[in-house]
């Protein structure tokens, strides 16, 4: 069974802290994505990566960075957490080699609260 896992389901951090959100997929997918989900706004793309050490900005990259050192792992970093980054963070992966770039597999999400 295919799986995308995220390091934490719930996380509470303080303003100014550096926060790492980890995502691992076991499907050997090339593409990985980070979204945030807020009520009434749907899912918004923060960053994505189509290969190891490659990254592309999504629609709302400000305040975030990413790292992809291994194919199966994609990390989202909040350099200095702020209260407006309180949100649900979702990781996803997909494989362009399957021809189905738009079929993304999601992790369960990390609900981050910044106090």
């Amino acid at each position: 069974d295919v799986k995308v896992t995220q390091s934490s389901r719930y996380l509470v951090k303080r303003t100014g802290e550096k926060v790492f959100l980890e995502c691992v997929q076991d499907m050997d997918h090339e593409n990985m994505f980070w979204y945030r989900q807020d009520p009434g706004l749907g899912l918004r793309l923060i960053y994505f990566s189509y290969d190891v050490k490659m990254k592309e900005k999504g629609d709302i990259p400000e305040g975030y960075s990413v790292s992809r050192e291994k194919k199966e792992r994609f990390s989202l970093i909040l350099e200095s957490a702020s209260t407006n980054q309180t949100s649900m963070y979702l990781c996803a992966s997909s494989s362009p080699l399957s021809g189905r770039f738009h079929e993304q597999f999601f992790g369960p999400g990390t609900r981050l609260t910044v106090l």
């Binding site: 999504g58 362009p96 189905r100 770039f101 738009h102 993304q104 369960p108 999400g109």
Partner: protein
């Protein structure tokens, strides 16, 4: 700019009835339109897609209709069951440069009345 998913935020349906969830989109360059389902406490899950050169596609108990003239997408669920309770997102796949990304709508929460 790009936008998708100008649909009702909630929908309540009697168990056993058919559900119709609607969505509007603005980008005519999308090659695929997709529906995702998100159950409580889980990430979104792919349900069905439709290529932009089609107007109808059927799956198991679900049908997606695409009307490109009015830029409208709908998801029909036959004989709605309690397990269909979820938030449904319409989405479109857009290509730029050599990569593609998905634009998600804001979602419709489907609740089932017993």
């Amino acid at each position: 700019g790009e936008s998708v998913g100008l649909h009702l935020p909630t929908l309540s349906v009697q168990e056993g009835d058919n559900s119709i969830i609607n969505c509007a989109y603005s980008n005519s360059a999308s090659d695929y339109f997709i529906w995702y389902k998100q159950e409580s406490g889980k990430g979104p899950q792919f349900i069905i897609d439709i290529r932009s050169n089609m107007d109808k596609r059927q799956g198991q108990r679900v049908t997606v209709l695409l009307n490109k003239t009015v830029k409208h997408l709908s998801l029909q669920i036959a004989a709605t069951q309690p397990g269909d309770s979820a938030v449904y997102f319409c989405a479109e796949n857009i290509w730029y440069s050599s990569a593609s990304k998905i634009i998600f709508g804001s979602g419709t929460r489907l609740s089932i009345r017993p």
